[in-house]
Amino acid sequence: MRRKAQQQYDVVIVGSGAAGGMCAYVLACSGVRVLMLEAGRDYDPVTETPMFQLPSDAPLRGVGTREKPFGFYDATVDGGWEVPGEPYSSAEGSEFRWWRARMLGGRTNHWGRISLRNGPYDFKPYSRDGLGFDWPMSYEDVAPYYDKTEALIGVFGSNEGLENTPDSPPGILQEPPAPRANEMLVRRAGDELGIPVVPSHIAILTRPQDADRLSRFLWPGNPTAQRVTAESMRSRAACFYATPCGRGCSIKANFQSPTVVLPPALATGNLDIVTDAMVREVTVDASGRATGVHYIDKRTRLEEHAGARVVVVAASACESARILLNSKSSIFPDGIANGTGLVGKYLMDTVGASVSGQIPAMENMPPHNADGASAMHLYSPWWLYQEQARGQLDFARGYHIELGGGRRMPGFGTFSGLERYTGGSYGQQFKEDCRRYYGSFVNFAGRGEMIPNEDCYCEIDPDQVDQWGIPTLRFHWKWSEHEENQARHMQHTFADIIEAMGGRVTSTIREDGADAIAPGGEIIHEVGGAIMGDDPRRSVLNQFCQSWEVDNLFVTDGAPFVSNADKNPTLSIMAIAWRASDYIVEQLNAGRL
């Protein structure tokens, strides 16, 4: 995809992932002329996805390598924990891992599709426990955009009426698939332990979308937007319950920006996309208004400029902070929109800890298809709100539990380490042991809320530029006791569940939460770095993702987040980006931008 940027655009968007894709869709559908610049290559899930290939069709049985860390078939191009020629660093004493992808659609091509709404508490955490910050808007302000986002991208799930775990209005969620056998066993254990185990919310279609109804709901009074949206919805098939979503989906059943939001945006005729365009900085005029961006054309390695009336930075939280910090001028010597010095500050990730187990009841299960919709069908939302309010927990904020295991497609590591159970069998006995133990393993991953702190931030590394000559990021990271204690609590909960299932824990349970917790960044839910707020002295952006200092500059990805609820961030990124895009349209129409 490569149309030359010739005209003057209303809006230039940096990045084509969840945030950039959503902004492009909403703006283009609203009649705004948009140029999207994407650092990665053009990418088409319809033609490029290896759907049914077996591990034995891939090098090294498809196992992860430095260049393909999540496996050969994982839909990550030019990325992973490293991007070739684009380094980053961690300050001494800090560990931060940063997952990136350089492709159209960014990380929406291989994300887990878990799509949970933040609840009312999650927008006002400071008011509840005095930690961190409140958001400048409430759940009620964002709820209509959650409705729209879920309706557009297609999310399966159920309404359970649980505390701080919002229901969606009727007609929005798709029907969840029936649970797998191992998930039913977990649910029974959860019943015993008082842990809710309910249908997960995943951005996968289990039915064809009701294109006419949904497009009218999304775009009342806008026939063009209705047409492109309905056409796009009709081109998507429902999940056929095979093939791992992490490879992408050639039938467009799951959410990927290049199959769900970019095609209708392009169909309006209002969107041009230039790939292989690595943005370095936002440019400003003498009055300090943004005029566009400088980018490196990666094919020629030459610098180009793209002008627009409005600049939307949506390059993913840390990349966006990096672009702002690198946008230095005499008016903005410390980077654009950074008069407060807050750009790059209050980075957050998710608290992650996991435990695996072996369940004798699941040995020798009768063969049956357990692929399902790739992702988990059931999960556990956070359930200890009351205990926490009574002061019975030694940490603030909650976590949800993600379930895995059972009779999934055998992979490289499915039988490694079996010696632990077999006493070292080989020969016919080993063959029978493999049959017996196959599918009897389960794992539990906790995903919990981190509270923003002063010690977690990124800054420009004075000693390093990337291969495009752009200064790179250096990360600082420190967990607080809240996160570490939470990680320990997770591990004990998971051990309890495994024991209630009659199983044995196969992981080491760490008594020190600092050992249980995954390194910063590893859960790949990094947000913050350009926080929003009500007060221009204490925030970078207002509630519409608009810079306080430069009113035609917006940051619409995870960077504006002021808290990082246990709910995986991407659904909220998209809902908040849609809300910001509506505001941009309104301001453009009112002649204020």
């Binding site: 029974r188 063969p367 055998p410």
Partner: protein, 213 residues
């Protein structure tokens, strides 16, 4: 990858969805796989390989003699029975060659383990059953006598720890190779990876098995 491997390979013309191994030349400073054949958008580098027509860009290192012994060992670990063939028939020894030849630190470590282990195995055979005895030429009872002693890292007799670690590694790699093939999956009763018109709850016999009725 620890060492910057300078591997650059010839273009693979045919867009076959099977693995092709190709000879490296000397130029380049990164692993370059092949100009994408099935997927013209892919750069064909290790960071952006053609997923639809994978190639293995490194050369195999094991000798035919090593492979022969390895094949024997793979079949001792996973022999043929009425449900599926033996491991070597599904190419487990070739996979181990592919694995230990790969330019990544863990694979390089495994190369030392496997090659060293194969030498050790023949040495152990000669020590127990007479000079010149090769493991692959021993009779089944003799082979079992050695394998029984190295079957478990935890219980390895003193002096045989390295042999047990070698055996354990080959067992894991053989299992990885074997069960990830179509035949291996069939044997296990993995019946997924087929498109379904609808998704049903687990069948009654599964619920019965789990006591979930």
């Amino acid at each position: 990858m620890d060492r910057r491997q300078a591997l650059k390979v010839m273009a693979i013309a045919a867009a076959v969805p099977s693995l092709t191994s190709c000879a490296p030349t000397d130029a380049g400073d990164d692993v370059v796989v092949a100009p994408a054949a099935a997927n013209p958008k892919a750069a064909g580098t290790a960071w952006d390989p053609d997923l639809l027509a994978p190639v293995i860009p490194w050369e195999r290192t094991l000798t035919s003699d090593e492979l022969e012994t390895l094949a024997t060992l793979c079949d001792i670990i996973i022999p043929a029975d009425e449900r599926s063939p033996g491991a070597s028939q599904l190419g487990a020894h070739d996979f181990i060659d592919e694995w230990v030849s790969a330019p990544y630190a863990r694979n390089e470590r495994d190369q030392v383990t496997v090659r060293g282990g194969l030498v050790w195995l023949d040495g152990e055979s000669a020590g127990r059953f007479g000079e010149g005895s090769r493991f692959r030429e021993l009779d089944a009872a003799q082979q079992r006598a050695i394998c029984d002693d190295i079957r478990s890292v935890a219980d390895a007799p003193s002096g045989l720890e390295a042999g047990a670690r070698f055996f354990d590694r080959v067992r894991d790699l053989t299992a990885a190779a074997f069960w990830t093939t179509r035949e291996g999956m069939q044997d296990l009763g993995y019946v997924g990876n087929v498109p379904l018109a609808r998704w049903d709850p687990p069948p009654p016999e599964v619920l019965r098995h789990l006591g979930l009725e």
